[in-house]
């Protein structure tokens, strides 16, 4: 199908973009890579009066390292970030997760911040941001504010973004050389994850664990290392804290089972 008619706006600066957003509010959407938005518009799941196309904004195309974090501008595509040398050296966990975001062909246009804005519960990038304790920089005509990943993503496709705000950047804290691991189960590489699990070593005997696809937003917890039995018990406690997210691809029971099967090896890898 085709999208409904709308006004197309291509701002030349961030100021013009937020002016347009404040004018249209909820009746507009920011168009970044279009890899989720255009599909929803073609299917008329989303209908808008105006699209504000930020994909060519030079001000938003920067990747830089500031205050121990990798800051990714809102027009940076997933493949541009994958090719940047700063990614591997500063946030190797994200470097490992990005190739799982859709296909090479969708990563050529899909942006890092667009995935965070879209807030799909099984998406890899919001999971990485939440696990690393990163944040999102929002800008509107009223000013700028920074929200932690936890404050930003509130539920399935829902965020704390006000209608007149846009994401200008996301900041991923550098995890440098600390141990980490990522595993995902999907029907086929490139499809949305049924379950994705990421782990980050935070101390000699502690891990931060993040789960995608099991709750309405990334589920983050900590885990103490121990013998195999202790770890299995910990995982069993965790899976019953998930809020039971399910869809046509997998029941919540299947998701719990996948976590039981995937987590032990992942935990071992992150501690190694």
């Amino acid at each position: 199908m085709k999208p409904r008619a709308f006004t197309y706006i291509r701002p030349a600066t961030i100021t013009e973009a937020v002016d347009a957003l404040s004018h249209y509010g909820e009746r507009a959407r920011v168009l970044a890579g279009g890899q989720s938005l255009m599909a929803m518009m073609n299917f008329r799941l989303v209908e808008v009066d105006a699209l504000i196309d930020i994909s060519r904004l030079a001000e938003l195309s920067r990747i830089r390292v500031t205050d121990g974090a990798l800051e990714v501008g809102a027009a940076v595509t997933q493949n541009q970030l994958l090719l940047s040398p700063e990614l591997k050296s500063h946030v190797p966990l994200l470097a490992e997760m990005l190739p799982w975001v859709g296909h090479f062909q969708t990563r050529n246009r899909g942006t890092v911040c667009g995935s965070i804005a879209h807030a799909d519960p099984s998406s890899e990038i919001p999971l990485a941001l939440a696990l690393l304790g990163g944040c999102v920089v929002l800008q509107s005509k009223r000013g700028t504010r920074t929200l932690s990943a936890d404050q930003f993503q509130t539920g399935i496709l829902s965020t704390a973004r006000a209608p007149d705000e846009m994401i200008v950047a996301a900041r991923f804290p550098a995890n440098g050389k600390s141990g980490h691991a990522f595993r995902e189960t999907s029907r086929r590489h490139g499809d949305f994850a049924i379950v994705g699990i990421a782990a980050l070593k935070t101390g000699a005997n502690t891990l931060r664990l993040g789960f995608g696809g099991v709750s309405s937003r990334p589920f983050i917890s900590t885990l103490e290392g121990g013998n195999a039995k202790a770890v299995t018990d910990e995982i069993e406690k965790l899976v019953w804290q998930f809020d039971g997210y399910e869809d046509m691809h997998a029941t919540s029971r299947m998701r719990r089972d996948l976590v039981r099967r995937m987590a032990p090896a992942l935990i071992e890898e992150a501690f190694a």
Partner: protein
């Protein structure tokens, strides 16, 4: 700032397969439809219109993208390559020949998109491993071949090492 109201016809100038072309489109027109209907590039196939099947894949500014998930107005000034660029004088290129030899197509609906994705891959990495080809072909749906012949054809064209 560029603003186009619903129904406004914008003039779009772009480079298609090495030639300067132009046409008019309203904001809601998808790039895939623009290339087919206004530029005559009917090798751009439209299957699902939500980014999943890969039939509409083109090379835009050097990278493979879904033309059903972009707007025609976003292609202003772009350099676009479609399957028509591969055999300008009617002679198949090496990849197309390999597809033919390995029966890598049956109905051929998916083929233009797959060929354009492989172009992007080969420009980034002229000697990809089989696994990389599998990942790139994984971004396409083919209802006829079962994929093995497509991967064999690509391997043959690249290394002469089809299994």
């Amino acid at each position: 700032m560029t603003t186009l109201k619903p129904g406004d016809l914008a003039r779009i100038d772009l480079t298609l397969n090495g030639e300067a072309v132009s046409g008019h489109a309203e904001p809601r027109m998808l790039l895939a439809d623009f290339l087919r209907e206004k530029c005559g590039a009917t090798g751009v196939h439209v299957g699902c219109e939500h980014g999943v099947c890969g039939c509409c894949t083109i090379v835009m500014n050097g990278v493979a993208v879904r033309s059903c998930l972009a707007l025609a107005v976003q292609a202003e000034g772009a350099v676009i390559e479609t399957v028509e660029s591969l055999a300008p004088d009617g002679t198949l290129n090496a990849m197309q020949e390999a597809f033919r030899k390995h029966h890598a197509l049956q109905c051929g609906f998916c083929t233009p998109g797959i060929l354009m994705s492989l172009i992007d891959l080969l420009r980034r990495n002229p000697k990809p491993e089989r696994e990389e080809i599998v990942h790139v072909v994984g971004g396409h749906l083919c209802r006829c071949t079962g994929y093995s012949n497509i991967i064999d054809a690509a391997m043959d064209a690249i290394n002469g090492t089809a299994k």
